[in-house]
């Protein structure tokens, strides 16, 4: 548990030192949403100034870690190499460097340029905390079955609204909803539905090669069942 001013960029974004660029991207999105001005998650815990300081640290951390050169230089500095301070200064031209300096100054630390790497602390770093084996909410990865519920769950997990998919794919959002609700009879001909499914899967990050055939099999079976006079199979 370190004060914000002592946390390194990885700790600010809450990612391990060996995080992939995707991990950093994802962590940044979460942090951005978490510390946004109107974020519900801050309510009654962080007030405006704290949240502002956090936002600035998050932006700086991301601007350094998302650039390959910036991250390499920063890692070298963390590792104790003597690298000129300029090498790990925020890379993005419009990065809020002065604000960052202010946060550091507020913590009564020497200016960045002469700052030695933080002293090793006798308290364990946050990364050493045991991680929950239940990290993430994904548990369907292994299953080859794709039904409407799974599409919907994947979409919600990725934080995507139906309207966003509609805007990208130009598919009527009502049809997208029917896909999730498996209202097969309300959907158009199979050839169109396949196109919808492929576009939907791409948007939510599922490989269409994996998911489309499985969903379409459900679709065909559901329609066939109704033709025989039974209600569509629901699972």
């Amino acid at each position: 548990m370190k004060p914000l001013a002592e946390q390194d960029h990885y700790e600010v974004l809450d990612v391990p030192r060996d995080a992939s660029p995707e991990d950093i991207e994802r962590a940044y999105r979460v942090a951005q949403a978490t510390y946004a001005d109107d974020s519900l998650a801050l309510y009654s815990v962080f007030d405006g100034d704290d949240a502002e300081a956090l936002r600035q640290r998050v932006e700086t951390a991301y601007s350094v870690l998302s650039s390959r050169e910036g991250r390499r230089a920063y890692d070298a500095w963390l590792g104790g190499d003597t690298v000129p301070a300029a090498a790990f200064a925020p890379i993005a031209p419009d990065a809020p460097a002065p604000a960052f300096e202010r946060v550091i100054a507020a913590a009564e630390e020497p200016p960045r340029a002469e700052a030695p790497p933080p002293e090793p602390r006798r308290l364990p770093p946050l990364e050493a905390f045991p991680r929950s084996p239940l990290e993430g909410v994904d548990e369907d990865e292994a299953s080859p079955e794709y039904d409407g519920t799974r599409l919907r769950r994947t979409r919600l997990r990725r934080g995507i609204e139906l309207e966003q998919i509609a805007a990208i794919t130009k598919i009527n959002p009502t049809y997208l909803r029917f896909l999730e609700e498996e209202r097969f009879d309300d959907l158009p001909a199979a050839v169109y539905v396949r196109g919808f499914v492929v576009a939907y899967l791409r948007c939510v990050g599922i490989d269409p090669a994996k998911g489309a055939a499985s969903y379409m099999a459900r679709f065909e079976a559901g329609r066939a069942a109704r033709k025989k006079g039974r209600s569509p199979a629901t699972g």
Partner: protein, 324 residues
């Protein structure tokens, strides 16, 4: 039977996994969560006992379809029954039993400190694989004690400012109480007690301020403090989710817990808003029983599987046999 076998002492009964659900605000779905997740685990072949510790507003029995319980936790609180096991009732759900919490005597609803200790002790020794405790609303120290006594403490919240505020309040209370019990010296313990008051004179605003003060008083106590933070893993559930934005709230709360308290809270999952929920409550049957295919039931089942998987390394010998 060989002699050696007959002489062997009976194996001590394995302790159940104790899952306690709280969360400060009323009406966010604690009872709903307990009724349904307990049902899921019972359906998966575990023996489960749900305890309604919400003595001032008990209705877990109603959610489980037990109309008017003949005995309840109130009998234990009022010293009418010393053996908690005798208060365990059957429910219509196979594998799931109940210690109801009807309000027998409103005046004497809250047990004394010693009674609470005995209750915690007795609950953690009920004969089952899982014991759930439904705490009810509020953040009275007695509720916090039950919460901290659990193997798993689950905070239930809904995506609304009122609920988020109370959930943090509950976590804050649990955090400070846990810290206080981890520390030894009377001086540092007084410090923690002072810090619980958000407007304390020493200007301790955050857990981090408190850690600084504790370290200043005694470095060894500071190490204990950090240890207590590291081993504190509350879980939380966001109930009544209506949009992707609401789902993200859980990740944001987890992030805030880390930044503010320094704790690794686990986002156990979310349950979406579903009209079926109301129908299930009216029908007095858990949603996962009456409408197992609806979205909310699927999310609840997922949460149950996670709790089941989290338990396995420490306890069980093998996967339970699913009920046919």
């Amino acid at each position: 039977m060989p002699v050696t076998e007959s002489l062997r002492l009976p194996a001590p009964r394995p302790r159940p996994t104790l899952i306690v659900a709280g969360g400060g605000k009323g009406g966010v779905g604690k009872t709903f969560f307990v009724a349904n997740v307990a049902t899921c685990l019972a359906r998966a072949g575990h023996s489960v006992i749900a305890v309604d510790a919400d003595l001032e507003g008990a209705n877990l029995h109603t959610c489980l379809g037990v109309a008017s319980p003949r005995v309840s936790l109130a009998d234990f609180v009022a010293h009418r029954e010393e053996d908690l096991e005798k208060l365990v009732l059957e429910t219509p759900i196979r594998g799931l039993r109940l210690v109801a919490g009807t309000q027998a005597n409103l005046g004497a609803a809250q047990p004394s400190h010693f009674r609470r200790e005995r209750l915690i002790h007795a609950v953690a020794r009920l004969p089952a694989d899982f014991v759930f405790v439904d705490l009810g609303a509020g953040m009275h120290p007695s509720l916090i004690d039950y919460f901290l006594a659990g193997d798993e403490g689950v905070v239930v919240m809904s995506p609304e400012p009122t609920s988020v505020e109370n959930a943090y309040g509950f976590l804050r209370a649990a955090f400070y109480r846990r810290m206080r019990s981890a520390l030894r010296g009377p001086e540092v313990r007084r410090l923690v007690a002072a810090a619980m008051d958000q407007r304390n004179e020493r200007g301790i605003r955050t857990p981090l301020d408190l850690l600084r003060e504790v370290e200043a008083l005694s470095p060894e106590e500071g190490v204990r403090f950090v240890e207590a933070i590291r081993s504190f893993h509350p879980r939380f559930v966001v109930n009544g989710v209506r949009s992707a934005e609401d789902v993200k709230l859980g990740f944001a709360v987890r992030s805030v817990c880390k930044k503010y308290f320094g704790i690794d809270a686990d986002y156990l999952g979310y349950v979406n808003h579903d009209d079926g929920v109301r129908r299930s409550i009216v029908a007095r049957r858990p949603l996962v029983e009456s409408q197992p295919d609806c979205d909310a039931a699927i999310y609840l089942a997922r949460i149950a599987r996670k709790l089941d998987a989290a338990r396995r390394p420490a306890h069980a010998a093998g996967p339970p046999r699913p009920r046919a």
